[in-house]
Amino acid sequence: MLPGWKTKVCLLLTLPALIGLGACGGGSLSHTISNSKLKDMSRQGQLWIYDAENGIVVALDRLDEARDELYRIKTQLKLADRRISAAKKRRNGLGVNVSEAWEDSLEYLEDWARARIRLERFGVNVAKASIELAKAQVIQREDLLGDKDFTLKEFKDQLRKLQDSYDRRRKTVRKLRRKARKKEARWRKMRRRYVAQTGDHDSGLWID
C-alpha cells in the first residue's frame, strides 16, 4: 500500500532529520535500520521516531554547551597568561607563583572541558542508537518486515552498551572536574597565603 499524502509529507519532514544524523559526527553504529524499511510505517510510528530524535537535539545542545565552556576557559587562560607576564614584569616572584597556580587550575579545567566535548560527541552516538532502537520498535510493533526473525535484542544491547560506556565516561569527566576543583582550591589557598604575606590584595586579580 502506497503511503498517503500525509504520510508522504511526514516522511519528507522526517527523512532530512534522519539523513542529517549522518552528518552529526561521532562513530557509526553496528546495527542500523535503513529508511526504506520504514516506508510503510504509520503516523504513530513516525511520531515515535520523531520523538526519539529529540535525543539528538538534546545531545547536540549539550555538545554546544561543552564547546562554549571550552571557549570561555580558553579566554580565561589568555587572561591568566597576561597576569603571569604582569607579575613577572613587576618582578613579583610570589605573585608569579600564585598566577601560575591559577593557570594550572585553568589547564585542568581545560582538560575537563575537552573531555566533556568528547563525552558529548559520544552522547550524540548514544542518541543515534536510541533512534535506531525506536525504528526497530516501530518495525516490530507494526510488523513492517513480516519477518519473524527480526528481534529488538541487538538494538537494545547496542543502546545499553553505548549508554553504559557513556556513563563510565561521564564518571571520568566528573573526576576531571573534581581534580580541577582541587586545583582551584589550591590556588585559593596560595592566594590567601600570598595576601597574608604581602598585604597585596590586588595583583593577579584586580589589576592584571
Binding site: 557513556y166 556513563d167 566528573r174 590584595h201 590586588d202 586579580l205 584586580w206
Partner: protein, 1109 residues
C-alpha cells in the same frame, strides 16, 4: 566607462605624429611680443573710415530707396564708432597722465553723428526706428555733455513715441540725470513715469534708482519696498537678458543696497531668512550678509551680528575674509555674552582655523599667532558655555557645551595642546551633567591619561562612577545591549587603573564592588565569585562585605554548584568579623537550602534511567560526614540503591549509614528495609541482624515483634547464642506469654541438641519467670531437669506439660506425650531404684513399693498412647516392655534369703514366677505392639528400631541424639544467587540452587530455611526432598520421612525422594518397607551418591550404590 579602443594602427599613428611634432619643435623658446593697442585702434579706425566712405557712396546712390534711412542710421553709428576709437586712442596715449582724457576728434565726430541723426529724422519722419534714432541721439548728446539737449531729446522721445521701448529707458536716463544732480523730485518724477507704465525689464532699475531716492529722503521703508520690487523684477526678467548690465547685477546690488534699509525698518530677527529668500545665489547672499553683519556690528547689535557672522562662516569659502569674520564673531559673542549657542560658534571658528592654518602662504609666526588666538577663542567660548549650562542646569546646554568641546578637540593640533587635558576633563564633566555617562566615562579616562597625581585619581574615579551611573539608568533612558557591554568594560578598565595606581584610596572598596558587580550582572558567575570573595576577604568589616558574600552564594546558586556554595558559605561563617548574628543566620539557612538542593539534584540524577547510581550521593555523604547533609545524602543513596534492587549495595550503604549515624531517626526504617531485603534474598542471618538492630531503635510492640522475628530466624539457623540473646530481650519485654514461650522452646531445643542441660534449665526458668508458659516449654524444662537428675522438679513441669497437651495443638500434644513418657521414665527410675531384698522382713515392703512403682510406670507409659503421638507411643510401648521385662527379671532374680528351706524357696520362686511370667509375657507383647505401631505409623526412632528388632529399647530415646556441626560461612556462589533472589524473590531455580549449596557446604539449618522459603513460592518434589535431607541431617528423621513422602506425592517418579525414604526406613529397621520402596526406584543409575539430594549413605543403605548394583 568605456575605454577607447586604440588599434595598433592608431597607436602607431599617434606615436609617429608625436615623434614628428617633437622633431619639428624648435630648440629655442619664442618670445611673444605684446600687442600695440594704439596700432590696433588705428587699424580699426581705418576700417571705420573706409566704412564711412562706402556708406556715403551708398547714400549718394540710394536716393529714393527704401533703405536710405537705414543708411543714414548706419552712417551716424559709424561716426559714433569712429569717435569711440578716437577717444580710445587718445586715452591710450594719455593714460599715464593725471589729467582727464581730451579728444577733439571724438567730440567732432559725435557732433557729426548727432547731425546725421537729426537729418535722418528730418528727412524721414516716418522712419520706423525713429525712436531708436532719437534715443541714440540723446545718448550722444549726453556723451558730449549737452545735457539740456539730451533732456529735450529724451522728452521728445517720450512724448512722440509713448509706446516705444526706448521711451522708458530715456525716462530712466532722465531720472538718473536728475538724481545725479540731487534733484530728487525730478528724478522721482521720471522714475515714477517708468514705473507707471507696464512692467518691463527697465522697471527693475527704475525701482532701484527710486529706492535710492527714498534712501536719500530717509524714507527707508519705501526704499526697502522698492528694493524688493527691483529684485523681483530683476529676477523675473533674468532669463530674458537685461537684468544684468555690463556694470551692474541688479539682483545683487538691490539686495545689498537694501541692507541698510532693512536694518532701519525691521528688527534683526528674520533678517537671515529675509535675505536668503531674496538672494539669487550664494555669492549674492554672502555679499548681503557681509553688509548686514557690518551694519549690525556698527550698531552693536550683538545677537544679530553674531547670527550673521555665524551664517557667513558657515557658507563662505573665502578663507581670508573668514578670519576677519571669525574675529567679528568672537567679538559678538564676548560683547553680547551670547554663549548659549557656543557649540556652533566654536565649530565655526575651528573650521575657519582648519582651512587657514594649513595655508602654505602663512609664515610660521603668523601661523602661530593665528593658532594662539583661535585656541583662546574656542576654549573661551566653550568654557563660558559650560558656565552657562551650569547656571541653567539644563541638559540641552550641557550637550551644547559638549559639542563645543568636541568641536575644539576636532582640530588635531588642539588635541595636543597643553589645555587639551583640561578640555577633555570639562567635556567629561558636561557629558556627565547631561547624563551621557558612557561618553563621560570615556572622556574622563582620556583626561586622566594626560594628568598626574590627585587630578588623575579624581578623573579615573569619576570615570568609574560615570560608567556605574550609566548602568543604573532605567526606563526610557535604559542603555542598549551594546552600551551595557561598553559601560561594563569601561568600568572594569577604569577601575583596574584606579586600583593599580591608588590602592589606598578610600573609594577602593566601592570600586572593587562595582567591578565585581559588572561580572555578576553579565552572568559571568565564575569571575563574580572570584572578585566578590576577594572583596569579602579583604574588607570583612565593611557594610558591603555582607552584600558581596550574598552575591557569591547567589552566583554559586546560579551555576547550581551547591558544593561550592556550601563551601563558600561555611568559609564565610568562619570569618568572625563578617556580618552580625542575623547575617550568619541567613548564611546558615542558605547553606541548608543548598544542601537540600544538592541532595535533590543528585538524587534525581541517580534515580533516572540514565543516572549514575548512588556514587555521587555517597561521595557527598563522605564529604559531609557527620553533618545533617551527610546523613541525608547517605539516606538518599540508600533509597537509590534500594530502588536499583541491588541488595549488596543496599547492605553496604546501609551499614555505613548505621555506623556513621547511629542516632539517625530514619535508622529503624533503614534497618527494616535491609532486613526485609535480606530475608527476600534469603540471607537470613543478615536479616536477623538487621531486625535486631531495628528492634533496638524501637520500643513497645514493634520492638518485641522484631526481636521475636530475629530470634526465630536465629533459632532456625541453629544460632544458640544469638537466639538466646533475642529471647532474653523478649522476655524482658511486654510480649505475650505465647510468643515468649514459643521462642524459648525454639532456643531451648538448640541447647538440647547440644546437650547443654544447664543452659536449657536456666533459659526455660527465666522464661517461665517472665511469664512464658506453654506445654512444650514445661516439657522441655521438665526433661532438662530430668536429664540433670532433678526428678522431683522435673515431675512438676512434666505434669504441667501433660495437662497442657489436653486440647492443645500438635506441638502441645507432642510435648504432652513426651512429658508423659518422661514421667514414666521417672517412675521407671524409681522402680529401678527399689531393690528387692532377700531380707524377708523388708521384702514385703520393697516388693510392694516396687510393684507400686511398676504400676505407676506402666500407667505412665500406657497413658502416652492416649496423647496422640505415634513416636512417643512407640517409645512408651518399648519402655513398657523394658519395664515389664525388668520387673520380671527382678522377680525372677530375687535372691532368697540364706537358710531358707528348699521347698520354701521353691514356693517363693514359684510365686515370684507366677508374677514374673505374665510380666515377661507382657513385655513381649509390648515389644510386639511397639513394633506393630512402629511399622504401622512408620515411626523412625531408635525405639522403633529396637522394637522391630524384637528388643525392648533401652534408656532415654533422646539420649544419643547428635546434631552435626554447622559450617556457618557463606559458600562460594551464594552471593550471586542471593542478588538474583533480591531482584526476583520467586526464582525457584535460584532458591533450589542456593539450598543445595548450603547443604553441600554443611549448613542444614540454612538450607532448610532457604528451601522452606521456596515452598512458599511453589511446592515441588525437589524442594520437599531437599528439605527432607536437611531435616535428616538435623536428626529430625520423622519430619524428613514426611517430607520425602510429600515429595513422592508431588512426583511419584522422583527417585531421590524414593531412595531417601527407603534409606530412612532401612536405617530404622523397616527393612521390608525399605525394600518395597527400593523396588520402585526407576533409574538408580541417574542417582549420584553424595549428591545433596540424597541423605548420607542412602544408596548404600538401600543397596543401590554403584559397587552394589
Amino acid at each position: 566607462m568605456r575605454r577607447i579602443a586604440i588599434t595598433r594602427l592608431g597607436a602607431a599613428v599617434i606615436l609617429t605624429s608625436t615623434l614628428f611634432v617633437l622633431q619639428g619643435c624648435p630648440s629655442r623658446i619664442r618670445r611673444v611680443q605684446v600687442e600695440d593697442r594704439v596700432a590696433r585702434l588705428k587699424r580699426d579706425l581705418g576700417k571705420v573710415r573706409f566704412a564711412l566712405r562706402t556708406t556715403k557712396v551708398l547714400i549718394s546712390r540710394a536716393r529714393g530707396a527704401r533703405y536710405l534711412p537705414n543708411l543714414y542710421n548706419r552712417l551716424a553709428e559709424l561716426y559714433v564708432e569712429q569717435a569711440r576709437y578716437q577717444y580710445q586712442i587718445a586715452h591710450e596715449k594719455q593714460k599715464n597722465k593725471s589729467a582727464g582724457v581730451v579728444s577733439v576728434q571724438a567730440k567732432l565726430l559725435k557732433n557729426q553723428a548727432i547731425a546725421t541723426y537729426r537729418r535722418l529724422l528730418a528727412l524721414f519722419p516716418d522712419y520706423p526706428d525713429a525712436d531708436k534714432v532719437m534715443f541714440f541721439m540723446a545718448h550722444e548728446m549726453r556723451e558730449l555733455g549737452e545735457y539740456e539737449k539730451m533732456l529735450q531729446a529724451y522728452q521728445d522721445l517720450a512724448d512722440k513715441y509713448p509706446k516705444s521701448e526706448y521711451r522708458l529707458e530715456g525716462l530712466l536716463v532722465m531720472g538718473d540725470y536728475w538724481f545725479d544732480k540731487s534733484k530728487l523730485d525730478l528724478a522721482e518724477k521720471y522714475y515714477g513715469q517708468v514705473l507707471a507704465s507696464a512692467e518691463t525689464r527697465v522697471h527693475a532699475m527704475a525701482r532701484y534708482k527710486l529706492a535710492w531716492c527714498k534712501i536719500n529722503r530717509a524714507n527707508f521703508k519705501s526704499a526697502l519696498k522698492l528694493f524688493e520690487g527691483s529684485i523681483r523684477a530683476a529676477r523675473r526678467f533674468l532669463p530674458k537678458a537685461g537684468a544684468r548690465t555690463k556694470k551692474l547685477d541688479l539682483r545683487r546690488e538691490a539686495l545689498v543696497d537694501s541692507v541698510f534699509c532693512y536694518t532701519e525698518v525691521h528688527k534683526p530677527k528674520g533678517a537671515l531668512r529675509y535675505f536668503k529668500k531674496r538672494a539669487d545665489s550664494k555669492t549674492t547672499y554672502l555679499a548681503a550678509l557681509d553688509k548686514l553683519g557690518n551694519r549690525y556690528y556698527v550698531k552693536q547689535k550683538w545677537p544679530a551680528t553674531l547670527a550673521v557672522y555665524r551664517e557667513i562662516l558657515s557658507l563662505t569659502g573665502d578663507v581670508e575674509d573668514a578670519v576677519e569674520y571669525a574675529h567679528r564673531l568672537f567679538e559678538s559673542v564676548t560683547q553680547g555674552k551670547l554663549y548659549q549657542h557656543g557649540a556652533a560658534d566654536v565649530a565655526a571658528l575651528t573650521r575657519v582655523l582648519q582651512r587657514r592654518y594649513y595655508n602654505a602662504a602663512l609664515t610660521k609666526k603668523k601661523r602661530q599667532a593665528l593658532y594662539k588666538q583661535f585656541e583662546k577663542y574656542t576654549r573661551f567660548i566653550a568654557t563660558k558655555l559650560q558656565d552657562f549650562a551650569n547656571e541653567k542646569k539644563e541638559t540641552r546646554y550641557y550637550l551644547r557645551a559638549a559639542r563645543a568641546y568636541r568641536a575644539y578637540l576636532a582640530f588635531a593640533p588642539f588635541r595636543k595642546d597643553k589645555n587639551a587635558s583640561a578640555v577633555r576633563g570639562n567635556l567629561a564633566e558636561v557629558l556627565y551633567s547631561a547624563k551621557r555617562y558612557i561618553e563621560a566615562g570615556k572622556y574622563y579616562e582620556m583626561a586622566a591619561k594626560g594628568q598626574k597625581g590627585k587630578a588623575r585619581g579624581e578623573s579615573t574615579y569619576t570615570a568609574v562612577v560615570s560608567y556605574f551611573e550609566a548602568l543604573k539608568l532605567k526606563g526610557k533612558k535604559r542603555l542598549s545591549q551594546l552600551d551595557v557591554v561598553l559601560a561594563r568594560a569601561g568600568l572594569r578598565r577604569a577601575g583596574a587603573i584606579y586600583i593599580r595606581e591608588f590602592p589606598k584610596a578610600s573609594e577602593i572598596r566601592q570600586v572593587k564592588f562595582n567591578i565585581a558587580r559588572t561580572h555578576y550582572d553579565a552572568g559571568n558567575f565564575d569571575e563574580a565569585i572570584l572578585f566578590f570573595t576577594a572583596l569579602v576577604e579583604q574588607f570583612p568589616n565593611d557594610k558591603e562585605a555582607t552584600v558581596a558574600a550574598h552575591l557569591v552564594l547567589d552566583s554559586y546558586r546560579n551555576r547550581e554548584d551547591y558544593d561550592g556554595l556550601i563551601a563558600a558559605g561555611t568559609a564565610f561563617k568562619r570569618i568572625s568579623s563578617l556580618g552580625d548574628a542575623s547575617f550568619k543566620g541567613e548564611i546558615t539557612q542558605i547553606i541548608k537550602g543548598a544542601e537540600n538542593a544538592l541532595l535533590r539534584t543528585e538524587t534525581i540524577k541517580a534515580t533516572t534511567e540514565e543516572g549514575e547510581n548512588s556514587d555521587t550521593l555517597e561521595r557527598i555523604a563522605a564529604k559531609y560526614k557527620g553533618t545533617a547533609l551527610g546523613e541525608k545524602a547517605m539516606l538518599n543513596a540508600f533509597v537509590t540503591a534500594r530502588n536499583a534492587r541491588d541488595p549488596e549495595k543496599v547492605f553496604e550503604v546501609g551499614e555505613r549509614l548505621i555506623q556513621a549515624y547511629p542516632n539517625s531517626k530514619q535508622l529503624s526504617d533503614v534497618l527494616a528495609t535491609m532486613g526485609k531485603l535480606a530475608l527476600d534474598s534469603l540471607q537470613f542471618a543478615r536479616g536477623a541482624r538487621y531486625l535486631e538492630k531495628a528492634a533496638r531503635s524501637k520500643t513497645g510492640r514493634s520492638a518485641t515483634n522484631l526481636y521475636k522475628a530475629a530470634g526465630e530466624i536465629r533459632a532456625r539457623l541453629g544460632d544458640r547464642k544469638h537466639s538466646e540473646r533475642d529471647l532474653n530481650v523478649l522476655l524482658r519485654s511486654s510480649g505475650s506469654a505465647k510468643d515468649k514461650a514459643d521462642l524459648a522452646v525454639m532456643v531451648a531445643r538448640l541447647h538440647v541438641e547440644a546437650n547443654d542441660w544447664p543452659a536449657v534449665i536456666g533459659l526455660l526458668q527465666r522464661a517461665s519467670n517472665a511469664g512464658a508458659s506453654s506445654g512444650p516449654l514445661s516439657y522441655l524444662l521438665g526433661y532438662a531437669l530430668f536429664r540433670q537428675g532433678q526428678l522431683a522438679s522435673a515431675q512438676g513441669y512434666l505434669g504441667q506439660a501433660v495437662q497442657g497437651g489436653r486440647g492443645g495443638n500438635d506441638a502441645a500434644k507432642d510435648a504432652a506425650a513426651a512429658a508423659q513418657f518422661y514421667l514414666g521414665e521417672i517412675a521407671f527410675k524409681a522402680f529401678s531404684q527399689v531393690q528387692l531384698t532377700s531380707d524377708l522382713s523388708q521384702l514385703g515392703n520393697t516388693l510392694q513399693q516396687k510393684l507400686g512403682f511398676l504400676g505407676q510406670t506402666r500407667q505412665a507409659y500406657t497413658s502416652v498412647g492416649s496423647l496422640g503421638s505415634a513416636e512417643w507411643t512407640v517409645a512408651a510401648l518399648g519402655r513398657l516392655a523394658s519395664v515389664d521385662a525388668q520387673a520380671a527379671n527382678d522377680l525372677r532374680n530375687l535372691a532368697m534369703p540364706p537358710g531358707l528351706p528348699e521347698n520354701i524357696v521353691q514356693q517363693v520362686k514359684s510365686a515370684l514366677e507366677s508374677n514374673a511370667a505374665p510380666l515377661a509375657k507382657e513385655a513381649k507383647m509390648a515389644v510386639k505392639q511397639c513394633a506393630s505401631a512402629a511399622k504401622k505409623f512408620k515411626v523412625l526412632s531408635e525405639a522403633a528400631k529396637a522394637c522391630i528388632a524384637k528388643r525392648a529399647p533401652e534408656g532415654d530415646p533422646q539420649a544419643n541424639l547428635t546434631v552435626p556441626s554447622v559450617n556457618a560461612g557463606r559458600p562460594a556462589g551464594a552471593a550471586s544467587l542471593q542478588r538474583r533472589l533480591a531482584a526476583k524473590p520467586g526464582d525457584i531455580k535460584a532458591i533450589i540452587k542456593l539450598g543445595k549449596l548450603y547443604l553441600t557446604h554443611g549448613n542444614p539449618y540454612m538450607a532448610r530455611m532457604i528451601l522452606g522459603k521456596g515452598l512458599e513460592v511453589r511446592e515441588t518434589a525437589k524442594l520437599f526432598n531437599l528439605i527432607g535431607v536437611a531435616a535428616a541431617r538435623l536428626s529430625n528423621f520423622n519430619d524428613a520421612y514426611a517430607l520425602f513422602e510429600r515429595a513422592l506425592k508431588r512426583d511419584v517418579a522422583y527417585d531421590y525422594a524414593r531412595v531417601n525414604k527407603a534409606a530412612l526406613l532401612a536405617k530404622f529397621g523397616h527393612a521390608k518397607a525399605a525394600r518395597a520402596e527400593t523396588k520402585k526406584v526407576r533409574n538408580a543409575n541417574a542417582l549420584t551418591d553424595g549428591a545433596p539430594e540424597l541423605i548420607s549413605g542412602a544408596l548404600s543403605r538401600v543397596g543401590l550404590a554403584p559397587s552394589g548394583r
